[in-house]
């Protein structure tokens, strides 16, 4: 291997090692600063990521969409734009599904999936599919995690809803907080706000 190629490879590696995280940071900082606040109902148990530590697994309760007849050909694995609409309960719900990026409103890029327990789409329910949300975990401090798990379990006893607060901008979502009864999870655990 020639020395110039080695330097080129090293340079490419260094640039990529900075560019990849910085690009993620730029998009998410933009969403946090300028994005619309979106609240969705979720459940949040407490597992562990071997590389990134403890987190609450955020599972939005609403994950099924109804496709318009002209989109009935779409199948599991395809990317779609899903609009988010605020309901009378002050929470956001999944709305219209499109293959083109919407020009206005709050929307997210999601992946279509077959609903749980279905290995193929029967003809009568072909227009109902699940979607993968782009947020699925909320990393928490190693010490706070069991406390957070207990708090959430206690608060949700009796059917109270856990609400995930997102910042959404141009199809990108950043999870900023989790709350129950309007009380922020961060406040409870005395964490500085994101």
């Amino acid at each position: 291997m020639k020395p110039d190629f080695r330097l080129l490879a090293f340079g490419a590696a260094c640039v990529a090692q900075w560019a990849a995280p910085l690009a993620s940071i730029y998009v998410r900082e933009d969403a946090i600063q300028r994005g619309a606040v979106v609240r969705v109902a979720v459940s949040a148990p407490d597992p562990f990521d071997p590389l990134r530590g403890r987190y609450l697994q955020v599972r939005p309760l609403e994950s099924e969409v109804v496709l318009d007849p002209e989109l009935a050909h779409l199948t599991s694995g395809q990317k779609v734009w899903v609009q988010l609409q605020k309901g009378p309960d002050e929470l956001h719900h999944l709305g219209k599904v499109t293959t083109q990026k919407p020009v206005s409103g709050d929307y997210l890029l999601m992946t279509l999936r077959l609903p749980r327990g279905r290995s193929s789409a029967p003809a009568d329910s072909a227009s109902r599919l699940s979607v993968d949300w782009p947020v699925d975990r909320f990393f928490v401090n190693e010490k706070s995690a069991p406390q957070a798990d207990d708090w959430l379990r206690e608060k949700t006893r009796g059917g109270r809803t856990i609400v995930a607060e997102l910042r959404v901008l141009n199809g990108t979502a950043v999870l900023t907080d989790i709350a129950v009864d309007g009380r922020s999870f961060r406040d409870v655990l005395k964490q500085p706000a994101q």
């Binding site: 190629f5 990529a16 090692q17 947020v135 699925d136």
Partner: protein, 435 residues
């Protein structure tokens, strides 16, 4: 030779020279050779210490990050992500500028930069609550660091990459995923190791450790493609597992037949993990198949697997590599590699898969012994072990009394020991050292 044995040999040389057992020239050659080996083993020690140091440093950083320092502001935490990365990059750059550096420094720098890169992207994804499976994270990490294997010729970075892509491929079995999230891109990912090994001018042969890792990684890639094929092919649910397993066996056969250079043909089996690992899998399956009561379900699954695109591709690869193996006269290996074809053969012949497997393994055992008597590359002790294993399994599975079973086991044991003794004597008689 280990260090204490080397120093013992070097101490004895003077006496042997005085006694006339070795000439002065021979003693000089031996001294130089074992002194050089001693220096190399000292280098290995430095390398291992360097690797352990880099691993501890980088792993410690990742574990610290896992704590999630939420008392720090976002900016402070981001600084914690990028400063170690920058420092490791500066160290690597300084080594590259110097040109020739010790192996342990190159390896340590490569590994440290790999770990600080992982720590950096882990911290960023933690701060911004990014979703996704940890295996996706692993793939991004691998892709960001593989150029370090080319730039520094860092073996352990290459090993990390090979293992990482294997683990990622195995995790990609989701139905209807887009193409770039499927194990079909595994061959492309594997190609990224080309500049490291064998190099653009094929000047770098993989060492034994790297060959072992590559074998495991490729086996994971084959398994991932086989599983994905069966999950997406619309096969009846009871056939999916059997078909995937059969495709994996066929892939293992192809892997074992990978062509060797002329010099490698005569090398010991210990230096050929791409032959040993797949053959162990095939033999395990072969013994298991002799116990199958009704092999019809597995036979049907194998036929279904053969009719998939992946199955056809594997069969073509198997046929081509089989032809090369015939040309290279690797008949002993070929007899083992034929094992996955038995379920297909069972559909054509009026015998059960169990009987066919028993007959085949018997033929393989005898072939391995007979080839050695004709001076062909083979493993007669391996053949004897297969025959003994076959006898033990068949007798164990039979309805004979415990007394009869015990006597047969003892007979097989005595025959095995006697054969081993005979082979040792034969090798000594032929002038070769007893293995």
């Amino acid at each position: 030779m280990k260090a204490p044995e080397q120093s013992w040999l070097l101490r004895q040389l003077e006496g042997w020279e005085a006694e006339g057992l070795v000439t002065a020239d021979s003693a000089k050659v031996l001294r130089e050779r074992f002194k050089a080996q001693g220096a190399a083993s000292a280098g290995t020690g430095a390398l291992m210490l360097g690797i352990v140091g880099a691993l501890l440093l980088g792993s410690g950083l990742i574990v610290l990050i896992s704590h999630n320092w939420d008392a720090f502001s976002r900016f402070q935490r981001l600084a914690c992500a990028f400063v170690p990365l920058l420092l490791s990059q500066v160290w690597t750059a300084s080594l590259l500028r110097r040109g020739t550096v010790e192996v342990w420094k190159r390896e340590s720098a490569g590994l440290l930069q790999t770990l600080t890169t992982g720590a950096c992207i882990a911290l960023v994804s933690q701060i911004y609550q990014m979703g996704g499976e940890w295996t996706q994270f692993l793939l991004v990490w691998c892709l960001l660091t593989v150029p370090l294997a080319w730039a520094l010729r860092a073996r352990f970075v290459a090993i990390f990459y090979a293992l990482g892509i294997g683990v990622w491929a195995l995790s990609q079995s989701r139905v209807n995923a887009p193409w770039h999230e499927t194990p079909w891109i595994y061959p492309l990912l594997l190609l990224a190791l080309w500049p490291y090994c064998p190099g653009f001018r094929l000047q770098q042969l993989p060492d034994l450790l790297f060959r072992r890792v590559l074998t495991l990684s490729v086996a994971a890639g084959i398994a991932a493609c086989s599983i994905r094929t069966c999950l997406n092919s619309g096969l009846p649910a009871p056939q999916v597992e059997g078909a995937a397993f059969w495709l994996l066996l066929l892939g293992a056969s192809g892997l074992s037949l990978f062509p060797l250079s002329k010099t490698a043909l005569t090398d010991s089996l210990n230096t050929k993990p791409q032959v040993v690992f797949p053959c162990l899998v095939l033999l395990h399956y072969g013994f298991f198949a002799t116990l199958l009561e009704g092999g019809e379900a597995f036979t049907a699954a194998a036929v279904s697997g053969m009719h998939t695109h992946w199955g056809r591709l594997l069969l073509v690869v198997f046929a081509v590599l089989g032809a090369v193996a015939v040309r290279q006269r690797r008949f002993a290996l070929l007899s083992l590699a034929m094992i996955p074809l038995l379920p297909l053969l069972a559909t054509l012949l009026p015998v059960s898969l169990s009987t066919l497997s028993t007959l085949h393994l018997t033929a393989v055992g005898l072939t391995l012994i007979v080839l050695d008597f004709y001076g062909k590359p083979s493993s007669p002790r391996g053949g004897a072990a297969i025959l003994t294993g076959l006898i033990v399994i068949r007798i164990f599975d039979s309805h004979f009394s415990l007394v009869a079973k015990g006597l047969v086991f003892m007979g097989a044991g005595i025959a095995f020991l006697a054969f081993n003794h005979f082979m040792s004597r034969r090798k000594q008689h032929l002038g070769a050292p007893a293995a």
